[in-house]
């Protein structure tokens, strides 16, 4: 009995010690051995049938380096590296032959696709991003207009050391301040790929080349800076193939229809005074669209309600004395919105891509008719559906002044 108790007394501390010290496990990852991928891009590789994967990996040891007293920004805090493979996963693994740190994907924010590549279809490359446990469905899909994804990933921002942070900032600013970007996270993109009567959209990005001679103090001093990046609208996909682009007004038209407009500037010509403009700031937009079937044809009614404030006015204006001016400004604002909406619809119909989800909404409202009449020929039907736009535009405030300064003549 005593022996047993003594044995127990000896064994317990032993087990406790082993458990406390041997905490290693098979799948451990030390932070020093991994490199955080912040953005990834996919292009066609030179070899037939292969794809080129380009990743932007953070250099943690360089992030703090430039922040000291010297203020040098000569070392990039990131590293852009490419590899190729027949599949994304092969290319991901092939990175290991160049990267001493294992790329770690959980923080990847962007999946960029080059235009040339995207026109051939990107469905196959998205699989890995959905299947693997590291990347998330929260990555934004970005299409590089007129460029390769690998070039887009070389761009930098003056105000952000880490380009994906900068791009994130742009995306947020453009969403909340301009409403001129199309946006789909991988999660939405995949749903739009699979969903009936809806096609995917992505953020359109372009490279602003940097003039070589332009060198003033405060600019990045590195020898080779790849230019900067601009978000200029939306990329339209039909199924998984890129088929065209929406420019900024068209993209806002798209956002009016889908109810994503948060703010932005509407410029109207000043009623009664040629060559003078008024800038209106959108306060909020509300919208709804409703597809209906009449005599076997689909009509979509888009209703937009928008509110705006007067932001700036050219030429002398006294709003108090001219109430009819206010009303006619509202009408012009409504016309601008309607034009944007119609422009977006016209482009989408030209591309044959139902990015608005008119078909999906029809399916929600009239599933029987959708299944029987439209599902199989929606591609053609979508091209000539009639879209009616009803805009209610309201102007709210004129800012801190009621009339502008009259310049004495």
């Amino acid at each position: 009995m005593l022996g047993k108790r003594a044995l127990r007394a000896a064994v317990l501390p032993l087990i406790a010690t082993i458990m406390a010290t041997a905490t290693g496990c098979w799948s451990r990852r030390e932070i020093e051995t991994i490199g955080f991928v912040l953005a990834a891009g996919v292009d066609e590789a030179q070899e037939e049938g292969k794809i080129q994967l380009t990743v932007l990996i953070a250099k943690p040891f360089a992030i703090g380096a430039g922040m000291g007293t010297h203020g040098t920004t000569e070392e990039k805090p990131f590293w852009v590296v490419s590899s190729t493979g027949y599949t994304v996963f092969e290319a991901v693994r092939n990175l290991l032959s160049q990267s001493p740190r294992r790329p770690f994907w959980a923080h990847n924010r962007f999946v960029v696709v080059g235009e040339e590549f995207a026109r051939k279809g990107i469905g196959d490359v998205l699989d890995w991003f959905d299947r693997n446990g590291e990347p998330r469905r929260r990555a934004w899909i970005v299409a590089a207009k007129g460029a390769k994804a690998s070039d887009l990933l070389q761009t930098e921002f003056e105000l952000e050391r880490m380009p994906p942070e900068g791009a994130m900032g742009l995306l947020k600013a453009a969403r909340t301040g301009l409403s001129t970007v199309g946006e789909d996270m991988l999660n939405d993109f995949l749903q739009r790929l699979e969903g009936e009567g809806i096609d995917p959209i992505a953020t359109r990005a372009e490279i602003i080349p940097r003039p070589q001679e332009f060198d003033i103090r405060g600019e990045l001093k590195r020898e080779k800076v790849g230019g900067s990046l601009r978000l200029t609208g939306a990329a339209v996909f039909r199924d998984d193939r890129l088929v065209g682009w929406l420019n900024k007004p068209e993209t806002r038209g798209f956002n009016w229809i889908t109810g994503k407009v948060r703010s932005g500037i509407i410029v109207i010509e000043k009623p009664g005074e040629e060559g003078k403009f008024i800038g209106l700031e959108i306060l909020r937009g509300k919208s709804a669209f409703k597809p209906e079937v009449k005599d076997g044809r689909v009509t979509v009614t888009v209703k937009v309600e928008a509110e705006a404030n007067v932001g700036d006015v050219q030429g002398f204006t006294d709003f108090i004395k001219s109430p009819e001016l206010w009303a006619s400004m509202e009408r012009r604002m409504a016309t601008v919105i309607e034009n944007e909406v119609q422009a977006a619809v016209a482009k989408a119909q030209e591309f044959g891509s139902d990015i608005f989800g008119f078909g999906a909404e029809l399916n929600r409202r009239e599933p029987k008719k959708w299944a029987d009449e439209f599902r199989d020929r929606w591609d053609e039907e979508f091209r000539d559906i009639d879209v009616q736009v009803e805009v209610k535009a309201r102007l709210r405030k004129s800012g801190l002044v009621l009339r502008s300064t009259r310049i004495k003549k």
Partner: protein, 371 residues
């Protein structure tokens, strides 16, 4: 009659362990979701399945209460005679062991798919089964208390998971309702029911309830509570993932990966793993306990404790041997496999037992039998 198990549990503890057992097949793999053809109607299948399961549970309770001191293993011997009764007992023990095997495998698969792909699956299975066996060895009271405490933690995790992905939820994904009729819902509904049928384990727990009057109430509560949780999860999943929901191997895990609050509160999939681990652990403990006690009663052994570890080891080996791969496991959990198996075993045994009780008219007299 010798008592193999001497513990007592309360109605709430019973409810807790039942809910946790039902939470396992929604937080790890979610077989009903995998089988969906029309994702937007998933919630209907979930509700329907839950409601269809209520009568079954009441049947188990009703029969059990006729033999207040007896487990389902014991009264099947009373009803069917020695040999047939023992056969039914063995079938049930087999069923519980197979549940332990696939829960252990599921949990192992979940860990290896989600976070530690290089770690051998046997490591997770052995560790979890060992822990559960430890609890089971200590008797029903311990399992019940684990459930009573664990259920709050799991509930908290689930609610976090259900609420936080709010900015990714698009409730229009739930329309149109029943666009393709009810036919495509048959298999998912069947799957929902088939997992509720595991509640036949009630037959083992009932005699140890401290107040048998509570049995029906709390068992039905358990069905409804887990049904509500399941339906809620289904709605959230469909809202977040739309038509792509049925691709997901572990929908709840993928859901928690979508959470991102203000770029700050993100990467909290650990909460789903917490929910898996706790609920699976308690489910494993409950079913290991049931099979050990059951086996002891079939063979007239006076103590069940020595059986727990060997049964756990056997279940883990079955978990490895039954399924060649993850896909094999997922296929097994579908209605045409596990669903039919579950239906056959549980409805079959309950049917036979009930029929025997009816045919004998007046139930056989024995110690502890209420007339």
């Amino acid at each position: 009659m010798s008592k193999v198990e001497g513990g007592k549990v309360s109605g709430r503890q019973l409810m807790a362990v039942l809910v946790l057992s039902r939470v396992v097949p929604i937080t790890v793999a979610f077989p009903m979701i995998t089988e969906l053809q029309v994702p937007q109607d998933a919630w209907i299948a979930s509700l329907l399945g839950t409601l269809l399961s209520v009568p079954f549970v009441l049947l188990v309770v009703r029969l059990g209460l006729k033999f207040p001191d007896k487990t389902i293993i014991e009264y099947s011997e009373l009803l069917l005679g020695k040999y047939l009764g023992k056969l039914v007992g063995l079938i049930l023990v087999w069923y519980w062991i197979s549940v332990v095997a696939d829960v252990a495998r599921e949990l192992g698969e979940a860990y290896t798919i989600a976070i530690m792909p290089e770690t051998p699956i046997l490591v997770f299975m052995t560790v979890t089964a060992f822990l559960a066996a430890n609890a089971a060895r200590n008797g029903l009271e311990v399992v019940g208390r684990m459930g009573e405490n664990g259920v709050w933690v799991v509930l908290f995790f689930l609610i976090v998971m259900f609420v936080l992905p709010y900015d990714e939820m698009r409730f229009r994904n739930l329309a149109p309702v029943l666009a393709r009729g009810v036919r495509p819902l048959a298999a998912p509904t069947g799957t929902v029911v088939s997992f509720f049928l595991q509640f036949i384990v009630l037959g083992m727990v009932l005699p140890y309830l401290n107040r048998p009057k509570d049995a029906a109430r709390y068992s039905v509560y358990a069905v409804l509570a887990s049904g509500i949780l399941m339906t809620w999860l289904t709605v959230v999943l469909v809202a977040v993932f739309g038509p792509t929901v049925s691709h997901l191997a572990m929908p709840a895990f993928s859901l928690s990966r979508m959470i991102s609050i203000a770029d700050f509160l993100e990467r909290i999939e650990a909460i789903t793993m917490g929910a898996w681990t706790l609920s699976s652990e308690i489910k494993l403990a409950l079913f290991l306990w049931a099979s050990a006690v059951g086996l002891a009663q079939v063979f007239g052994v006076s103590r069940f404790q020595p059986l727990v570890y060997p049964l756990g080891a056997i279940a883990v080996s079955f978990g490895i041997l039954f399924f060649e791969s993850t896909l094999d496991l997922q296929r097994f959990l579908q209605f045409k496999n596990f669903g039919l198996y579950s239906l056959m075993v549980t409805l079959g045994t309950m049917g036979v037992l009930y029929l025997a009780a009816l045919l004998r008219g007046r139930l056989p007299v024995g110690p502890g039998v209420r007339r």
